[in-house]
């Protein structure tokens, strides 16, 4: 998720266009993060040094680590440590894709990474949570839910589980919008389900464009349902029902019992207020609103 935030930081600064960011996000799955990138991220080499070693690699039959050692930029043990972390460096795939595709140089990247940590508005703890990648930690650090103080912990648990379920059932890598609107924007379709709990009803609402709705339905059903409205409604409803069922199971282990009403697909806006977040996946953004109705 760190990568997605960094990408949007570059977009907001105008370093990348929306089309380029989209291209990078689409291609990053196949990117292998290189040693030079890790060395910059860990502060072991400057962007200029990495550029120099990369240039030398074109004229010498040696690996990046070997040349960096020859130049005295890295020690043998530092190269060893970098190699160990190479396979766990999914956070830097977008940055590597930007280098590989020629949109950024290593020197530019070094400056942008430093600027991101200073200017993104995220605290060090939040950045560490993003780098760690654990949805529970990310949600806890990023979502203040100031407007819903009494249900904050419940909403955080709900969103963290939704992020995990998006990975589990849609095979997507979700991320949370850094500065969501205060409440739901206009949406074409809303998937809604009521959870009846010990203190009242919790209304879970997923706000989507039609395009997002049909793509979500197809991703969940594992078949193309673009031309089958009834099946698309069933698939999105079942996705929400499955998620809420798992949420209810988790809550029952904390001695909070929730019953579920069948999910519904509604069109147009609702005037509900509550805890609101925006979640991005590869095919766009959807809004999640959790509205609590006291008993």
């Amino acid at each position: 998720m760190y990568d997605k935030y960094f990408g949007h930081f570059l977009l907001n600064k105008g370093t990348l266009t929306a089309d380029i960011l989209k291209e990078l996000l689409a291609s990053q799955q196949n990117v292998r993060v290189k040693l030079g990138m890790l060395a910059i991220k860990q502060g072991l080499m400057t962007g200029k040094q990495v550029e120099e070693v990369t240039q030398l690699q074109r004229t010498m039959d040696k690996k990046f680590g070997e040349i960096a050692e020859l130049k005295g930029y890295l020690t043998d043990s530092q190269v060893g440590e970098l190699l160990k972390t190479q396979s766990e460096s999914a956070n830097l795939r977008l940055s590597q894709a930007a280098i590989d595709m020629g949109y950024l140089s290593y020197e530019q990247l070094e400056k942008e990474l430093t600027a991101f940590e200073k200017e993104s508005g995220l605290s060090q703890i939040q950045i560490m949570a993003l780098q760690n990648g654990d949805p529970d930690k990310i949600v806890k650090e990023l979502l203040a839910f100031a407007a819903c103080d009494h249900t904050k912990a419940l909403c955080q648990d709900y969103v963290a589980l939704l992020l995990r379920n998006i990975v589990r059932f849609l095979d997507e890598q979700p991320w949370l919008a850094p500065h969501p609107a205060e409440n739901a924007k206009e949406a074409e379709l809303v998937a809604q389900q009521t959870l009846i709990g010990p203190d009242g009803e919790l209304l879970s609402n997923l706000y989507m464009t039609k395009e997002f709705f049909y793509r979500l339905a197809s991703a969940f059903a594992k078949i193309d349902v673009t031309d089958d409205e009834e099946m698309a409604h069933a698939a999105v409803g079942e996705f929400l029902n499955l998620h809420n069922g798992l949420f209810a199971v988790n809550m029952s282990e904390k001695n909070q019992r929730f019953k579920l009403e069948p999910p519904e697909i509604l069109s147009g806006e609702t005037d509900l207020m509550g805890c609101y977040v925006e979640i991005y996946i590869s095919f766009g953004c959807c809004g999640l609103l959790l509205a609590k109705k006291p008993r």
Binding site: F169, A221, E230, M231, H233, A234, A235, G237, E238, N241, L242, N244, G245, L246, A248, V249, S252, R257, K259, L260, E261, P262
Partner: protein
Amino acid sequence: MGLSQFTAKVLVCDDSLLIRKQLTDFLAQFGTYELFQATRGDEALKVFEETRPDIVFLDIVMPELDGLECLKLMKKIHPGVKVVMLSSLGTKENLRTALDLGAVDFIQKPWKKDQLTQILARLKG
């Protein structure tokens, strides 16, 4: 006797068209099933009384009448029916209630093919 020779009347009760399709497509691969479907709790009971199925796959979250209420009434009408609960709401409490009411098994959604194959193999006995 393999699953392919299994003959039974099966009622699938779930408000989701997707789940009904996935389940009936899966069952159609095995044996000679006479398949019936219902989308709501009250409809499930009506179809149950009319068709007297051997096996029922029953969701919990359904409109009008929930699956656990349906289970209770189905067992009253036909105590020998084999009911498999199939739900996203797999809390310990629901599991206990379903088994107390006479369900033969409880599958937490999303169901897996292996899981269902094993249950069908048990039911054919």
